[in-house]
């Protein structure tokens, strides 16, 4: 976790942090539809627009389907365009989410994670973002408000890189981050402006000298090759990300990577997770280390493209790996577990593995739950093909 200088930080919610990242990016167009817990991001941003702080054209459209469509339309003209959403809003965008990726439009979208209906629930889990994991968007998951802010800015540069040109989702846990107050160090506006630079327009619709068409019929003649290019763009995202992270480090002093190891050097048992739960895991790691247990944690910052090599590097040879998922994949292994398990297929010394699903629909995850999962690992009680649950009544 990056250290925050409390003297320079301001206490803000995740929503305010992200809205400020958007203010500094100052997209040409923002189109959005309200949904809890995304709402405050758009409210803060709407205020920036009304107060003339940003020159963004903003339109509160009639649904998320329209919001993402408007953003795609704007981005195709070469404009920087953004939106934000949660849960069913993201689900309603689904078909357009694919259009954004396949049209290679560098849209950055904060996703405030909330459980997908039904039944309706407004609290945090990752089922919304996970439903889009194969859509061709880069996906980051933030542990803190600082990360949500930083990743939003960093993502824009990654998205717009010429070899990448892919949209990016920045996931932040609904309520826990979006409405929770934490210290955040903001970069000066000029620094952000300089970091992201001017948008590079590639095949803009408004270049009337070179007219182009987006999305024409693409059958068995070329569709496959175009999909192959999207695969390649994801590979490029993996190559470009460390460079962008390095540049971000230079301006902010904060380091980002595909994953973040915590007390891993001599750790025999490692827990892997996404998002804000990592803070609780770190707390438990410290607690158990005081008692002499060799435990550690590996936070996954980037989930798409999946950082297989880094997962292998950090987990090869450990005694046990416990993966926590805040979403289920009904009828199959939970998404993060499945990806980690598959990454470890080829390592020299495969650890024992265990899958734990927790926190669906905002169910609290307590240090005791996490400790229990670690204790399963310590006592050799991990079964790779079994899915277990934390904090569930059965």
């Amino acid at each position: 976790m990056n250290n925050i200088d409390l003297k320079k930080a301001r206490a803000v919610t995740g929503a305010e942090a992200v809205a400020n990242a958007m203010r500094q990016i100052e997209p040409h167009v923002v189109a959005a539809y309200p949904i809890t817990p995304q709402t405050p991001i758009v409210e803060y941003f709407a205020k920036f627009v009304s107060d003339g702080v940003v020159r963004t054209e903003m339109i509160p459209v009639e649904s998320e389907h329209s919001a993402m469509s408007a953003v795609v339309g704007a981005a195709a003209t070469g404009a920087r365009a953004m939106t934000a959403t949660s849960a069913n809003g993201l689900a309603l965008m689904h078909e357009v989410v694919y259009i954004a990726a396949s049209s290679r439009l560098p849209i950055v979208m904060p996703v405030v994670n909330r459980a997908l209906s039904g039944p309706i629930n407004i609290h945090c889990d990752h089922s919304d973002a996970m439903a889009e994991r194969d859509s061709g968007w880069v996906q980051f998951y933030a542990e803190s408000n600082q990360e949500a802010y930083d990743l939003t800015i960093l993502s824009l540069k990654l998205a717009e890189d010429e070899s990448v040109r892919l949209p990016v989702m920045v996931s932040l846990d609904g309520f826990i981050l979006s409405h929770g107050v934490e210290p955040v160090e903001f970069l000066p506006d000029e620094v952000v402006k300089e970091f992201i630079g001017e948008p590079k327009m590639i095949y803009p619709l408004l270049d009337t000298e070179h007219p182009v068409t987006y999305g024409p019929l693409d059958l068995y003649d070329y569709y496959f090759e175009h999909k192959r290019q999207q695969v390649e763009a994801m590979e490029n995202a993996k190559k470009v990300f460390p460079k962008v992270a390095e540049e971000f480090y230079k301006v902010s002093g904060r380091k980002y990577d595909f994953v973040e190891p915590y007390k891993l050097d001599d750790a025999e048992y490692v827990m892997v997770a996404l998002g804000s739960t990592n803070s609780t895991i770190k707390y438990v790691v410290d607690w158990m280390r005081e008692e002499g247990f060799k435990v550690g944690a590996l936070k996954v910052w980037m989930f798409r493209p999946f950082p297989k090599a880094q997962i292998q590097k950090y987990l090869n040879g450990r005694k046990g790996v416990v993966v926590l998922d805040r979403s289920a994949s009904f009828g199959a292994e939970a998404p993060l577990y499945e990806a980690v398990k598959s990454a470890l297929y080829n390592v020299a010394i495969r650890p024992q593995m265990g899958s734990y699903v927790y926190g669906l629909g905002g169910r609290d995850i307590l240090p005791e739950h996490i400790r229990k999962a670690f204790e399963d690992a310590l006592s050799g009680n991990l079964i790779a093909d079994e899915q277990r649950y934390l904090g569930l009544r059965e």
């Binding site: 809890t36 709407a46 009304s50």
Partner: protein, 274 residues
């Protein structure tokens, strides 16, 4: 009518409701129950389908067959219910956002199709649930959280939208005009074909607070002082009607075949001789 008499239609164990004290949603709910009671409908032959929003939470409190669905999709779910159980009285409840923005498409198509549903629009001219963003029925110039300097879009008139989309029963009341409301809902449920009741209601918490009427009674007074009956409205000029709420029955076309009648006709034709 004594409220007590209506308690049998409610899931009292789900109370208190999530609604703000004084919210017009409670008045609409009561008017609906009174209409059901007067019609002597059997509880298990009534289905109520709602979308998502403050108003749509009604289905949690009503002791009928109820479905709380997705934001904007209540009419589509209700269409399925009606086709599977044509003998049911199927009622759709939703907000102006639910039925006219995100679900506006389903609204006009249900009207065009004249399917036998009763749509009660809880029209508070705002997105209540998500914190007072403007909706497709927010009047021009009014304030909302997304329109801090006044709204610049033109609103839908729900009744006119229903009329021009082909609805066969269209009426409007406000929550202040309670007796009318009961009568319109009753007529709407009895009507065969699509019936739309546009109910102007108070979200004092957001719409009222943004527009100088933060107390429920202030909005009630507004509804009382600014409503004109459709009969009166006929003799009024466009300027005079500006900012007025026209209440009354806009259309009542009985005997027109509804979707299910046409469906039955075509089924018989296709099955001829078999």
């Amino acid at each position: 009518m004594k409220t007590k008499q209506l308690l049998k239609y409610l899931r009292i164990d789900r109370w208190p409701t999530v609604w703000c004290p004084g919210c017009g949603n409670g008045i609409i709910l009561k008017a609906f129950l009174e209409a059901v009671d007067q019609l002597k409908l059997k509880k298990d032959r009534v289905a109520v389908v709602s979308g998502i929003g403050c108003s749509s939470r009604a289905t949690g409190y009503l002791d009928f067959n109820t479905m709380h669905t997705l934001h904007g999709r209540a009419i589509s779910f209700a269409t399925g219910v009606k086709l599977a159980r044509p003998e049911f009285k199927v009622i759709v409840m939703g907000g102006d956002g639910d039925l006219a923005s995100i679900g506006g498409n389903h609204f006009i198509h249900a009207c065009r199709r004249n399917i036998d549903l009763t749509v009660i629009v809880f029209n508070n001219m705002i997105y209540g649930m998500t914190g007072g963003q403007y909706s497709p029925t927010t009047p021009e110039e009014e304030m909302a959280s997304t329109a801090p300097y006044g709204h610049i879009e033109r609103p839908f008139d729900i009744a006119k939208l229903a009329l021009s989309s082909g609805a066969t029963y269209v009426a409007r009341s406000t929550v202040y005009h309670y007796n009318l409301l009961v009568k319109y809902i009753k007529d709407a449920i009895e009507h065969r074909g699509i019936s739309v009741v546009d109910v102007i209601t108070n979200c004092h918490t957001y719409y009222g607070r943004y527009n100088g009427m933060p107390q429920p009674y202030q909005m009630m007074e507004y509804f009382k002082n600014n409503s004109v009956t459709i009969e009166k409205a006929r003799d009024m000029s466009e300027e005079e009607l500006e900012e007025k709420i026209v209440i009354g029955v806009f259309r009542r076309e009985e005997g027109k075949p509804c979707y299910l009648d046409r469906y039955e006709e075509i089924r018989k034709k296709a099955m001829k001789g078999r």
